[in-house]
């Protein structure tokens, strides 16, 4: 699997926003203490949906939309199959 930024050449660092439920305590002096965070969304589902229903995976360098390529060898497989078919003929 590859992830590429559609605006720049970055293919390493990306950002994904996720909703979490924070349980917190209000101290007597008015400050907040976070006790627990619970993830509300699945990061895998969001990555799979990237480009279909959302564009939330963004490049960390330029904030451009990222493109997820699940099988980068698919094209190579097709090319080698075509080559083998031609050789067979």
């Amino acid at each position: 699997m590859q992830i590429r930024c559609q605006s720049c050449t970055n293919h390493k660092d990306f950002l994904m926003p996720l909703w979490v439920r924070a349980t917190f305590k209000i101290n007597e002096d008015g400050t907040l203490s976070i006790l627990h965070t619970k993830q509300l969304e699945s990061i895998e589902e969001k990555i799979v949906d990237q480009g279909k229903t959302n564009f939330e995976l963004t490049c960390q360098d330029c904030s451009g939309d990222a493109k997820v390529i699940f099988n980068e060898y698919a094209k190579l497989d097709t090319q080698s199959n075509e080559k083998q078919a031609l050789e067979g003929l």
């Binding site: 699997m1 390493k12 926003p17 349980t23 917190f24 209000i26 907040l32 976070i34 990061i43």
Partner: protein, 138 residues
């Protein structure tokens, strides 16, 4: 007491939904999900804290006005913070905390006291209308 749950009387533990940014790094072994680390600065951590504080401050400022009528439950609820004990959304700042602000002097008196300082400020201010027009030089 900052907030009070109208269901169970809890005023200490609450829950709030916030958005956190995670770093996604594709590698040969799969995706590496981690906190967003900038130069000596954890963006994910500060994002959670800042957003939580924003929500708490907003609810404190708005008070009962932040609550909306939920037709399903037939009650007034708020959409930001819920009770960590009973999961109720009937969270408000206690009404008893609201008091009219007692200022030491009236606004008119304050303006009069600061009159000289304001005059000085007006003298220091740059008025573009007082400068002559300049010919355009390409």
């Amino acid at each position: 007491m900052t907030f009070l749950c109208a269901e169970c009387g809890n005023y200490t533990y609450f829950e709030c939904d916030v958005q956190v940014y995670r770093s996604v790094n594709p590698g040969p072994e799969g995706l590496l999900i981690d906190d967003v680390l900038l130069e000596d600065f954890n963006y994910s951590d500060s994002n959670v804290r800042d957003e939580l504080k924003d929500n708490v401050d907003y609810l404190l400022k708005q008070g009962a006005e932040a609550m909306y009528f939920d037709s399903y439950s037939g009650r007034y609820e708020n959409s930001l913070i819920s009770c960590a004990r009973c999961e109720s959304k009937r969270i408000t700042p206690p009404y008893s905390e609201w008091t009219p602000k007692k200022n030491p002097k009236s606004l008119e008196q304050e303006l009069m006291d600061n009159k000289e300082e304001f005059k000085q400020l007006r003298k220091e201010k740059n008025y573009y209308a007082n400068t002559l027009p300049v010919l355009y030089k390409p």
